[in-house]
């Protein structure tokens, strides 16, 4: 083979691999990405039942009902709309009423969001970033969400201090 042929083989091979990779990526992007919505966006967009998406918002206080066989129902709200969610399994450690949550799943025919994953990826202020941004965008963000969490921590620190002085 001449130098030129060798080079062409190499370049051809490289382009082939790259082409396959691009095809794979485009195909995967079409089928396997998941969009993020808040309850009000769900109401506006009329997402069809069975289409997977991520739902984010705050767990409505007082809405968490634990049933038989680890079934849990709760409502996710973003201030202007709320959506009932069912989930079967163990909720993450940081799941609690009034705090932010992100759930992945799809709507069923009755308009209830059936979650198969509830995400626990919170930062130290217990607010998933998507949820915080969405709430801010819709004007429902209260600056004290983050502050409250901090304050709670400080109060606990104070309690712990008192506890310590008692034990001493």
């Amino acid at each position: 083979m001449t130098r030129r042929q060798r080079r062409l083989t190499m370049i051809g091979g490289a382009l082939l691999v790259l082409g396959i990779a691009v095809a794979l990526v485009l195909n995967a992007l079409r089928d396997s990405i998941v969009f993020f919505s808040t309850p009000v966006m769900v109401a506006e967009k009329h997402i069809p039942a069975g289409k997977r998406f991520r739902l984010g918002g705050l767990v409505e206080p007082g809405s968490v009902v634990r049933g038989e066989h680890l079934k849990v129902t709760f409502k996710v709200s973003d201030g202007s709309a709320s959506l009932p969610v069912t989930y079967k399994g163990i909720l993450p450690d940081l799941f609690r009423e009034g705090q932010g949550v992100v759930a992945e799943g799809a709507l069923d025919s009755a308009g209830v969001f059936e979650a198969d994953t509830v995400l626990a990826k919170h930062d130290e202020t217990y607010m998933p970033k998507e949820v915080a941004d969405a709430l801010k965008k819709q004007g429902h963000w209260k600056d004290d969400y983050g502050e409250n969490a901090k304050k709670a921590g400080d109060e606990k620190a104070a309690e712990a201090r008192q506890g310590k002085s008692v034990t001493q």
Binding site: G13, A28, R66, H69, G89, I90, K156
Partner: protein
């Protein structure tokens, strides 16, 4: 006082880095040996001062000095000593300080062990290293100073994020950073070579040990992080395709490609331009990883920082170094002479294929990680790209890579013989087919994918072993001769065998775990028995216990198999009072390479508790594979060819230093 001293030491280190980034370069231009040697002393002095600064922060954390913001926010006087120390890098400021400390450590190592390098190359490389250090010192001092004081010192700290209070934190970030930052050396050498406009096979020989070292640490760091996530997060996953994980996987993929292309450059003086590019890209991806994790652009357990000035600052550093080095590359690379012709079917050709597939796989991870960010910036739409995306893109690219892997070492340099290589892989191919057939028969009705993938893994492992058998002529000469030949093989050959076999072993673990994993989620009361994969787990009692800075609920299980008690498991749920947060501590029991995994959920009203029990077959192989790869890397690193064979600079005649 200690805080101020630590701060001052950091400022001094910045000063030294600034000198180091200019003076040696002038020296290299004007061929002034004295100026060039400045690099060596400043690199060592810099290491000393950053070391002091780091020690100061450790001291502040250990002595619980809550007048320092960083200590107040991340420590607690009741925290166990080990977490007081590891908590130093369990937060943004401290982990950046660890980052620059390791950067300075590598600079110092080049200064000490770089005696065999040409003086100009060493001076230039250390200067480039100092540019990176200076940028990061400025970043720390201007946006993330760990030594800030609080006006009214509180009595108690806010404690470390409970998830991070684990021995994993002691090992994972330092290993990962040793890997990430270690690639800065190959970057600095590449940029130095581009500045000089001169590059040859010897360059690859100098750079390879450093790249190999960084790669070993990164491999261990990623594996360690994966195991940590597996046992700490409580749902038994070991890889989530989380952007933060991808951030460490991308430099690993590029670094693996770099290791292989540097071999071609060293042996055959070919692929020079490409190797330069890979060296630059690998460290750029490390910087990108630092940006993704440290700027807080991602939602992740790792992103503590939400301060936008930090993000913008790191983005600037990122653009400056990646843009600058790529521009320099575009300008100078064409002047590098290409050498070493080779046929497409040859050892070089196989390594090119390896590089092509690894970098393409890296590119798909890059797209999957950054596409959501780009889309959000452009359209405001939020999407998540998860495991399905990567299974559809990353996995198909790894199949040809693994298929081709055993052929590479069998081919000769320059022009290889495919038929001969295939003949030598006969046994490996048969072993793979037999494995597939047996598994297929055994799992009738199961997924066809698993037997195929395990067959592929067996092919990789058996292929590596047959390479070894070929080289020591096993079965063709008497056993004693073969053993003598095996002992005489270069360590790098053994390293290749172990590293390649490690890939196959990890693949077996991955496939077994994801295909035959059994999961049971249920509510149990004391006295109840759960049955998982032939094991019976009896819940004995639910107890409360007080830890140093947490309360925990421990559930005791007795595990038996076929009526015979084989041990006990005690998963727990910890409540950290200070942060009002809880963590799940899973209990693990290893049975061979498989594991039983138990973690707890919420207590139920009727006195029971929700538990999650998994049986994970062959799961330990997932981490044993990378360990083997790292061991292979270590063997190669100790190969005498990598140090004694390094060409000497024209005038120096003293003994060459090992590069470790």
């Amino acid at each position: 006082m200690i805080a101020e001293a630590g701060h001052y030491a950091l400022v001094l280190a910045l000063g030294l880095a600034l000198i180091q980034s200019v003076v040696p370069m002038i020296g290299a231009r004007t061929h002034d040996v004295a100026l060039m040697n400045v690099a060596r002393s400043t690199a060592l002095a810099q290491l000393l001062f950053v070391g002091l600064s780091f020690l100061a922060l450790v001291t502040l954390h250990v002595t619980s000095d809550f007048s320092v913001t960083n200590v107040y926010e991340n420590s607690h006087s009741l925290k166990p000593l080990i977490y007081k120390i590891t908590g130093v890098w369990g937060n943004h400021e401290g982990s950046m300080l660890l980052w620059v400390s390791i950067l300075a450590l590598f600079g110092g190592l080049v200064a000490v062990f770089g005696g065999n390098l040409p003086l100009t190359l060493r001076a230039n490389a250390l200067a480039v290293q100092a540019w990176v250090s200076s940028a990061f010192y400025l970043f720390i001092l201007l946006t993330s100073n760990p030594f800030l004081r609080i006006a009214n010192p509180p009595l108690e700290g806010r404690d470390l994020n409970p998830v991070l209070q684990d021995p994993g934190l002691a090992v994972h970030p330092p290993l990962l950073y040793l890997g990430y930052v270690g690639f800065s050396i190959s970057f600095s050498f590449a940029v130095a070579a581009l500045i000089e406009g001169r590059i040859d096979a010897a360059w690859a020989r100098w750079v390879r040990p450093w790249t190999l070292m960084a790669w070993i640490f990164l491999t261990l760091g990623i594996a360690m992080g994966s195991y940590w996530a597996y046992y700490e997060l409580g749902w038994g996953g070991w890889w989530f395709w989380d952007p933060v994980e991808n951030a460490s996987l991308m430099p690993w993929l590029a670094g693996t490609a770099l290791l292989h292309s540097a071999v071609v450059m060293e042996k055959r003086n070919a692929l020079k331009v490409w190797t330069m590019l890979l060296a630059i890209l690998t460290f750029s991806l490390s910087l990108l990883g630092t940006f993704l994790v440290r700027s807080g652009v991602l939602t992740s357990v790792h992103a503590f920082a939400t301060d936008p000035t930090r993000g913008v600052f790191i983005l600037l550093i990122l653009c400056l170094f990646i843009g600058g080095s790529l521009a320099l590359y575009a300008w100078r690379a064409s002047s590098l002479k290409q050498g070493g012709l080779f046929a497409p079917i040859s050892r070089e050709g196989a390594l090119v294929l390896n590089n092509l597939l690894l970098t393409t796989a890296c590119a798909t991870v890059f797209v999957g990680t950054l596409y959501p960010l780009a889309l959000e910036v452009l359209t405001g739409e939020r999407i998540s790209v998860g495991a399905p995306f990567f299974n559809l893109t990353f996995a198909p690219l790894f199949v040809p890579l693994l298929l081709a892997l055993p052929f590479g070492p069998m081919l000769a340099w320059k022009r290889g013989d495919m038929v001969a290589a295939a003949q030598r892989l006969y046994a490996a191919g048969i072993a793979a087919l037999v494995t597939m057939a047996v598994l297929w028969a055994w799992t009738r009705g199961g997924a066809a994918f698993a037997p195929l993938a395990i067959g592929l893994a067996v092919f990789v492992i058996a292929g590596s072993l047959s390479d070894l058998a070929e080289r020591c002529m096993l079965f063709r000469v008497p056993l004693s001769v073969a053993l003598r030949r095996a002992r005489g093989l270069p360590r790098a050959t053994w390293g290749t065998v172990f590293a390649h076999a490690g890939v196959g072993i990890a693949l077996i673990g991955i496939v077994c775990e994801s295909t035959w994993n059994t999961e049971l989620i249920t509510t149990l009361k004391p006295g109840d028995v759960a049955k998982v994969a032939g094991y019976e787990m009896k819940l004995d009692d639910i107890a409360q216990r007080q830890g140093p800075n947490f309360r925990e609920m421990v559930v005791h299980f007795t595990v038996s198999e076929g009526g015979r008690v084989i041990g006990a498991m005690a998963p727990s749920k910890r409540n950290f009072t200070t942060r009002a947060a809880s963590t799940t501590e899973a209990a693990l029991m290893s049975r061979g390479a498989s594991q039983l995994y138990a973690s707890l959920g919420e207590p139920s009203a009727n006195g029971g508790i929700a538990v999650r029990i998994y049986h994970k077959p062959m799961v330990l192989l997932i981490w044993f594979g990378p360990l083997l790869m790292a061991f292979g890397g270590f063997l190669s690193l100790t190969d005498r060819r990598l140090r004694v064979g390094a060409p000497k600079p024209a005038k120096a005649s003293r003994a060459l230093q090992p590069a470790e």
